[in-house]
């Protein structure tokens, strides 16, 4: 059984399976990468969302219908791969590496944790092996007279948990793109 989620596209409601929702989210992230100007980007995304809503609307025969991964694939075929949105060729490579780097964010890892997943999050963020971070934690906990415990709790409270697939990619600093997400989705469905 699949969990269905509510998605709002350009002010319209749609029911999505989880996988197509993730796929569409990644698609939007990939498109946004091509635009540095915030206002322009916002404007483009509003238009794109409206068009996708329109296309989805044509595919739904009754309001309760659930959007599938096939629907999203069809839409991406019509709209084009994220590359199609690129206007200028020059801002290509340098921009991309820059943005991939800045995409790495500190999250707590829900899949690998003793308490709050802080250690695994920090390990992902700095590209360290988790056992070393845990060892440092242990040493700090022993020698900081409770100071570390407070810090840990603060981190637990303030660092968000990586909930969506997009966030998990960002946590690991992996590029949030369609091919990565596809790999991940395939893994989920195999298990």
């Amino acid at each position: 059984m699949n969990k269905t989620v509510n998605v709002n596209l350009a002010g319209q409601h749609f029911y999505f399976d989880k996988a197509p929702k993730t796929k569409l989210e990644i698609y939007f992230v990939e498109i946004k990468k091509h635009f540095t100007d915030e206002v322009l980007c916002q404007e483009i995304m509003t238009d794109v969302e409206a068009r996708i809503a329109e296309l989805l609307h044509q595919k739904t025969t009754h309001p309760q219908q659930v959007t599938t991964i096939k629907n999203i694939e069809d839409i991406i075929e019509v709209m084009g791969e994220p590359n199609a949105y690129k206007i200028d060729e020059e801002e290509d490579k340098t921009e991309k590496t820059k943005q991939n780097k800045s995409l790495r964010k500190l999250f707590r890892d829900p899949d690998d944790r003793f308490f709050g997943g802080v250690a695994s999050g920090v390990a992902h963020y700095f590209g360290l092996q988790i056992k070393w971070v845990r060892l440092i934690w242990l040493l700090l906990a022993l020698f900081s007279w409770g100071g570390f415990t407070i810090l840990y709790i603060a981190l637990w409270v303030f660092v968000p948990l990586a909930k969506t697939t997009t966030e998990k990619f960002m946590m690991k600093g992996e590029a949030v793109n369609l091919s990565n997400i596809e790999k991940k989705l395939k893994k989920i469905f195999k298990t």
Partner: protein, 113 residues
């Protein structure tokens, strides 16, 4: 160099001219503009259009207005501005000159061989 890539680059360069021409006589919403461009084989995928619309809008060549639609959500109609019209007439001249120049060049080359 791949032919398709070169063709795509050429098309992208004159897309702005086409978009402004489509809007020259009456306002249209994105889907209508897309249909025109697809019919003329100027674009293959729709995504290409949106960044260009936004860029023309921020250059003040286009503006837009929202209007309720009977069949769906409100539509965003794009309208050409006076600046846009002036720009269109200039690039149309530019395009004609260019076309003529290329043809002339090719003709003279053909005559020599």
């Amino acid at each position: 160099m791949q032919v398709e890539n070169t063709k795509a680059q050429m098309r992208k360069g004159i897309l702005e001219l086409c978009i402004l021409s489509i809007l020259a006589d009456e306002r249209k919403y994105a889907t209508e503009i897309i249909e025109h461009l697809k019919d003329a084989k100027m674009i293959v995928v729709e995504g290409t259009l949106y960044p260009l619309l936004a860029r023309l809008r921020s250059a003040k060549f286009l503006t837009y207005e929202w209007e309720e639609s009977k069949v769906g959500p409100p539509r965003k109609y794009y309208i050409i501005t006076d600046e846009g019209k002036a720009f269109l007439s200039e690039i149309t001249t530019g395009w004609n000159d260019l076309q003529q120049a290329v043809n002339q060049l090719k003709n003279t080359l053909n005559q020599k061989t």
